[in-house]
Symmetry: C2
Subunit: 195 residues, 2 copies
């Protein structure tokens, strides 16, 4: 049953957002002093195909906001269903300076540190910062991409994670290979052209 929300619009918006299943990524960057900075995020979306770009929304109070603004490049590390621990480490304010000790990070081979066994690593240069109030949208032009062979992302919904075993095992049954499950060719669909 749908009901018009009588609570504040803010609370209703939060509830609506909890109904969005979102893939968890870690946004990472390195400042000029060589320090690595990173944060788990779900507000990540593909933006345009020409030029290739993505957008991340970062709260101005987040520890990553300053480094991102300063250095102007970042990597979107798309987490695998098995990397829930990485999400927790990069979300907790405890031991913030030890975040990159957890997981298989390469902090030397590219401009931004990247999680070697993530689902994908999308390296970006900030093209524009759009001030949106509490958050800044960092529009990044895509420089380089690494992808993993598997398709089993870490999915966050309603304040929790989908179980990794379910996320990993249901894919061969639940998802059509290369768009077969969608009428026609998924790449020709309006609005879902990315996938």
């Amino acid at each position: 049953m749908n009901t018009t929300v009588s609570d504040t619009t803010t609370e209703a918006f939060r509830l609506a957002m909890r109904r969005f299943a979102a893939t968890v990524s870690i946004i990472s960057t390195t400042t000029e002093d060589g320090a690595c900075h990173g944060m788990a995020a779900t507000a990540v979306t593909s933006l345009s195909m020409d030029p290739l770009s993505v957008l991340i929304a970062v709260n101005s109070t987040a520890s990553l906001h300053g480094p991102l603004s300063e250095i102007g490049s970042y990597c979107v590390n798309v987490l695998h269903a098995t990397q829930r621990k990485q999400c927790e480490v990069f979300s907790s304010k405890k031991d913030r300076d030890k975040r990159f000790d957890s997981g298989n990070w390469d902090i030397k081979s590219a401009k931004s540190p990247f999680l070697i066994d993530a689902q994908a690593n999308i390296f970006c240069t900030v093209e524009r910062m759009v001030d949106c109030g509490s958050h800044t949208a960092f529009i990044g032009l895509v420089d380089e991409v690494r992808v993993d062979n598997s398709v089993a992302p870490l999915i966050y919904l309603d304040g929790g994670f989908l179980k990794e075993t379910e996320a990993a095992f249901r894919l061969p049954h639940g998802v059509g290979a290369h768009g077969n499950d969608v009428k026609g060719n998924a790449r020709q669909l309006e609005g879902i052209e990315w996938l």
Copy 2:
């Protein structure tokens, strides 16, 4: 195994995006002549909390682009796992003028048409249009929100949908209620503050 992609960056980016599980929404609007326009989309993200805003990325060649630019308001209808047919209708170029004949649409009670039994309806006024090349980012200030009691969104991954039965039934087991599944309080986590 991860490998550095030797294919074009564009193709690698497409593969990376296929590894993002995304919730499917229908973006809807009404032009001044009373005609309804809509499109299925996955490039939708929450943007800021103050003011409440969302962002949608729309290809400039999409039929919805003109109406959205003209009228400056839209609704994000977050699809329920059972509304796969709506996604297909609003993605296919066939019978584009009959899209709103399918499903339980209210085209009169609000500024934008809305799918009554969606997971959520987020009504927005376009605050800014950011030209990003092939796509335009429509930043929308949130005017009003309707939410459904259930939490079972339609999820798109790797060119197909997760099975609706799995999406609906696994939630009580796979997802912690109100963030219990996450260490600490999900709302206090950096970067995942929304959910």
